[in-house]
């Protein structure tokens, strides 16, 4: 199979998206068909590529010197690309219904579809320069989606968003420069590319740049103390919050952190150094801090956003364990959390779309009026808490297995943090479920008589996600094997 297809899946959505405002669609239906067809086509191409696993690289063009924009598919990239490709068509379907009430659809779908290509670009990038380019592009192309409603709040949130993103990328750039100088190649190589002869006694400096670079890329993953942008960005339409701020954008950050840790600096070089201590401390703090804020928050989307902050740091916890098992754990939580959180966000989005209610205390009795949505929400809540038999438990198990394997005090502390966070998760998710299904004896159901389940365009994605959550909960063996095989090449 020709590796040029890698460039096709990246550029096709960008092109298809950019064309949307210029095509004179007869009506809304045609636009929907066009977008869904384009997105589905890319997804199909992506999966065909994943099954064929082309080994060669594809160079799009070269900058000066040996820097180039080039793509190559490897294990880690396959996982992220597969995840994104699976979710995007479903999320697009959901957005068609949801965006009816937001307006400016053409521009929304333009950027939404372009983001797809750019996220795939990050997943398929062969070297740190390519990844960095797409990483910057991702920040820029998602900005219009955050400020979509053009309210004052949205614009302020957009400003915060852009400051954090560009600031983060700048830090990431420092790491990039040092990898180029001190590495043997700019490509991603399992185990790292640092040239120890060149480093000599500059070890601490390299570690320092790693810390800078890790925090820079992890800003997208909302690591403490740079996490406040994510809940603020919750003003965006729900499809954006769900797909971008629970999966694509934030996990691109985690993905970049994996790349620099395992494929550029090298886990062996970093393990046991003070740099690992620093990033581990930040990650553990984020895990607990994120869900404490989620418990305090009463706005539903912001609550889920804080929950995302915490759960993303589960992924980063796996990353900073700096071991193959840690990477496998991180990847499994990256995938499973994506399903769980997008499902939870879509439920909340359905409530907002149907009723306009955004706060937890307004949800009394909704379980009876929107049974499908709240059954899905309950399942995703249980999965997020880590009840065995659902996907969330599997990824937690994999993370803890890696932590036990590492066997350091910090790793044990991380396990404790995961469990504290699980308890807080139970609190912030179950209070919603109890409210929805048990509104209390004096509750007057006539106040919510107009509330009902949304149509199939919203229910279908939710069903698929729920099936995935249950499926991975009951047979995750092959998936864990696959991830461990991918990470074992370190």
């Amino acid at each position: 199979m020709n590796a040029a297809i890698l460039a096709v899946v990246v550029l096709l959505p960008v092109l298809a998206g950019a064309l949307i405002p210029f095509i004179p669609f007869k009506n809304r239906l045609w636009m929907m068909v066009y977008i869904e067809a384009a997105v589905l086509l890319v997804t199909i191409l992506m999966f065909v590529t994943l099954f064929n696993q082309p080994q060669e690289e594809f160079v799009l063009f070269r900058f000066a010197g040996n820097l180039s924009l080039s793509f190559k598919l490897d294990g880690l990239g396959s996982v992220f690309a597969g995840l994104v490709a699976f979710l995007w068509p479903l999320a697009t379907l959901y957005s068609f219904e949801y965006m009816k009430h937001e307006g400016h659809e053409k521009y929304f779908f333009m950027f939404y579809t372009m983001t797809y290509g750019i996220t795939l670009g990050i997943a398929l990038a062969e070297d740190i320069v390519t990844m960095y380019c797409f990483y910057e592009a991702l920040s820029i192309v998602t900005l219009p989606l955050v400020i979509h409603t053009l309210t004052r709040e949205a614009i302020l949130a957009g400003r915060t968003y852009v400051y954090y993103m560009l600031g983060g990328a700048a830090f990431g750039f420092i790491g990039l420069a040092f990898v180029l100088i001190y590495g043997t190649t700019s490509n991603f190589v399992p185990g790292g590319v640092l040239d120890f002869a060149k480093i000599g006694d500059h070890r601490n400096m390299i570690l320092f740049t790693y810390v800078m670079c890790f925090f820079g890329f992890s800003i997208k993953t909302a690591i403490w103390p740079f996490c406040s942008w994510l809940p603020k960005a919750g003003v965006a339409p729900t499809p954006v919050t769900a797909l971008l701020h629970a999966v694509a954008v934030v996990k691109a950050g985690a993905f970049a952190a994996m790349r620099v840790t395992y494929y550029s600096f090298g886990a062996d070089f970093l393990r046991g150094t003070w740099a690992q201590g620093v990033v581990m401390a930040a990650v553990i703090i984020t895990i607990v801090y994120g869900c404490s804020r989620a418990v305090k928050e009463t706005h539903m989307k912001r609550r889920l956003a804080w929950s995302t902050v915490s759960n993303l740091s589960y992924v980063l916890f796996g990353v900073v364990l700096m071991s193959p098992l840690g990477l496998a754990g991180a990847m499994s939580h990256m995938v499973f959390h994506a399903f769980i959180k997008i499902s939870a966000f879509f439920c909340v989005g359905a409530v907002i779309y149907k009723t306009g209610r955004e706060y937890v205390h307004q949800l009394n009795g909704f379980g009876y009026r929107m049974p499908k949505v709240f059954v899905v929400f309950t399942i995703s809540g249980l999965a997020l808490m880590g009840v065995p038999g659902l996907a969330g438990f599997v990824s937690k198990w994999n993370l803890v297995k890696a932590a036990l394997d590492a066997g350091t005090g910090a790793a044990y502390l991380g396990i404790a943090a995961l469990l504290v966070s699980a308890l807080l998760t139970a609190i912030y998710m179950m209070t919603i479920v109890v409210r929805a299904f048990f509104p209390g004896k004096d509750f007057d159901f006539s106040t919510i008589s107009d509330v009902e389940d949304p149509n199939w365009m919203m229910i279908l994605p939710l069903t698929v996600f729920t099936i995935a959550i249950i499926y991975f909960g009951v047979c995750s063996g092959w998936f864990t094997d696959m991830l461990e095989q991918i990470s074992s090449v370190m």
């Binding site: 009876y368 049974p371 249980l382 808490m385 880590g386 009840v387 065995p388 038999g389 438990f393 599997v394 198990w397 994999n398 803890v400 297995k401 036990l404 044990y412 396990i415 404790a416 469990l419 504290v420 699980a422 308890l423 139970a426 609190i427 179950m430 209070t431 109890v434 299904f437 048990f438 509104p439 209390g440 004896k441 004096d442 509750f443 159901f445 909960g473 009951v474 047979c475 995750s476 063996g477 864990t480 094997d481």
Partner: protein
């Protein structure tokens, strides 16, 4: 043969789930309650489900062996059921108590309303409990333990008052906190054990255990505290006196009588079937555990003694009595172990009886406080006699059942070679027994002898649907004191295996 294990698990869960689904449709149609006809059908359905499940479970208990592995939850660890001694004992008593209380609920629940919802969750929790008893490895047990917590919370919040909802959330979060402490232990046990499958005597790998001793002890201690939460052990006991009394009386009965024992079962499994008694013997964990249980025994009794609300008093009594069981387990000696198992059986039936009697008082005369119960024996002598017998058994007066279990517990403490606890334990048990007499017997005394000024009241005992289950439970709670040998024989065979 082996896949029959799924039958008593799935049957009540499926029936319960169907009831929930039909409930969702009812709610959409109209707000008016179900008709007589519908209620009757519901009762028949629930009745036959309970009986069928009990029969299947007892058949499995009788068969006495078998195991079944389903899909893998995580790599290498399947959902695994196996029927062993402890599982048989717990499954048998779970289903007898659950069915008896369920039959009582048919008459009680019209008083509370929303019967469909109640019975739906009642059945689901039943299936989950059977699964918990037959769980064959730690992860499976953890799975059903979590499910039990989640599915039993609706029983607590049944009446829908703000108080009940807050109580159920408190219940949920304490239990979750406990479960996660248990999960913490599970991770470390997984690392240091040859297998997580329950094996009498423990599966700890000696080399790894020697290497990771400290963290492993901390982990086991976390499990004791965590699973002890369900059993109302200090320091995670505070939910119990809040949550048990606000539930409808049948639910209080099973929460106190049965679900608290699920916590005991979990502790039992971790200590005797995974970590192994030898690993804990003489460690700081054993000392700390004994201290906590004795503290809980004393504190529970004292608080019960001071409590004026009847059901709340019984809930404090549960706190105290379940820690008798845990104290027996913490001694790590065969005799004390037998005492603990005996007390598990007896306390389950006794506490179900007591709560059901409290339910009768609520339904018949709407009396919830102890000081309102003067002269109740004139009106309902049968009910109060049941209460009296159960109380005597709980205090431990020979020849009732409670005497036997306490005798074994005290003897076990003296034998166990645990230093100061060898005599401190029996002393505290004795003091607590006196307090038990102090908080239970006044109800009987004032109930039968309200004083000469008390106006004569017509005899109006509990309806048959409530009285017969109460009589039945009283009988099986008290009578084993007279013929204890079959039960003791069964339990000592379990004890022989684990030590």
């Amino acid at each position: 043969m082996n896949s029959w294990i799924l039958l008593p698990v799935c049957l009540p869960v499926i029936v319960g789930a169907c009831l929930l689904i039909s409930l969702a449709f009812d709610r959409r149609k109209d707000a008016s309650g179900p008709s007589e006809e519908e209620l009757k059908r519901l009762h028949i359905l629930v009745f036959f489900t309970l009986i069928a499940t009990t029969v299947f479970t007892l058949a499995l208990v009788w068969a006495g062996k078998g195991s079944l592995a389903l899909f893998e939850i995580v790599k290498g660890i399947p959902v695994y059921f196996q029927i062993d001694g402890a599982g048989r004992l717990f499954a048998a008593i779970f289903c007898i108590a659950w069915t008896a209380v369920g039959i009582y609920a048919f008459t009680y629940m019209p008083h509370e309303g929303k019967e469909k919802q109640f019975f739906a969750f009642y059945l689901i929790v039943f299936g989950v409990l059977i699964a918990l008893a037959f769980s064959g490895n730690l992860v499976t047990m953890y799975l059903f333990y979590e499910l039990m917590t989640v599915t039993s919370a609706p029983l607590v919040l049944h009446n829908g008052s703000r108080e009940a909802i807050m109580a159920s959330l408190k219940y949920l979060f304490y239990s979750m906190c406990g479960a996660y402490l248990g999960l913490f232990a599970l991770f470390f046990l997984y690392q240091n054990c040859d297998t997580l499958t329950f094996t009498a005597g423990g599966t700890l790998n000696p080399e790894l255990a020697a290497q990771n001793g400290t963290i492993l002890l901390i982990a086991v201690f976390a499990a004791l505290i965590g699973f002890g939460a369900k059993a109302g052990m200090f320091p995670l006991h505070a939910w119990l006196p809040t949550a048990h009394p606000v539930a409808p009386s049948p639910a209080s009965a099973v929460l106190s009588g049965v679900i608290a024992k699920a916590g005991v079962l979990a502790v039992l499994r971790v200590v005797y079937y995974v970590a192994g008694a030898d690993f804990l013997r003489g460690s700081w964990v054993q000392t700390a555990w004994m201290t906590l249980t004795l503290l809980t025994v004393f504190m529970g009794s004292l608080l019960a003694f001071r409590e004026p609300v009847f059901k709340k008093r019984l809930a404090y009594s549960t706190v105290s009595q379940v820690s008798y069981i845990l104290f027996g387990l913490s001694l790590l000696s065969p005799t004390a172990f037998e005492g603990a198992m005996l007390h598990t059986v007896f306390h389950m039936f006794i506490k179900c009886t007591l709560f059901l009697v409290a339910g009768v008082f609520i339904v018949k005369c709407n009396k919830t406080r102890v000081d309102e119960l003067d002269g109740i024996g004139k009106q309902m002598p049968g009910t109060l006699w049941c209460f009296t017998f159960a109380s005597l058994a709980l205090i431990g007066i020979p020849p009732t059942s409670g005497f036997i279990s306490k005798w074994y517990l005290a003897q076990g403490a003296l034998e166990a070679n645990v230093g100061v606890f060898g005599w401190l334990g029996p002393v505290i048990l004795l003091v607590s027994a006196l307090l038990t007499a102090g908080y239970l017997l006044p109800v009987t005394m004032k109930g039968f002898f309200p004083g000469k000024d008390y106006p004569s009241v017509p005899k109006d005992d509990a309806p048959k649907g409530m009285l017969y289950p109460v009589l039945f439970l009283t009988a099986i709670a008290v009578l084993p004191g007279v013929i204890p040998n079959p039960l003791i024989g069964f339990i000592s065979r379990i004890a022989d295996l684990v030590f």
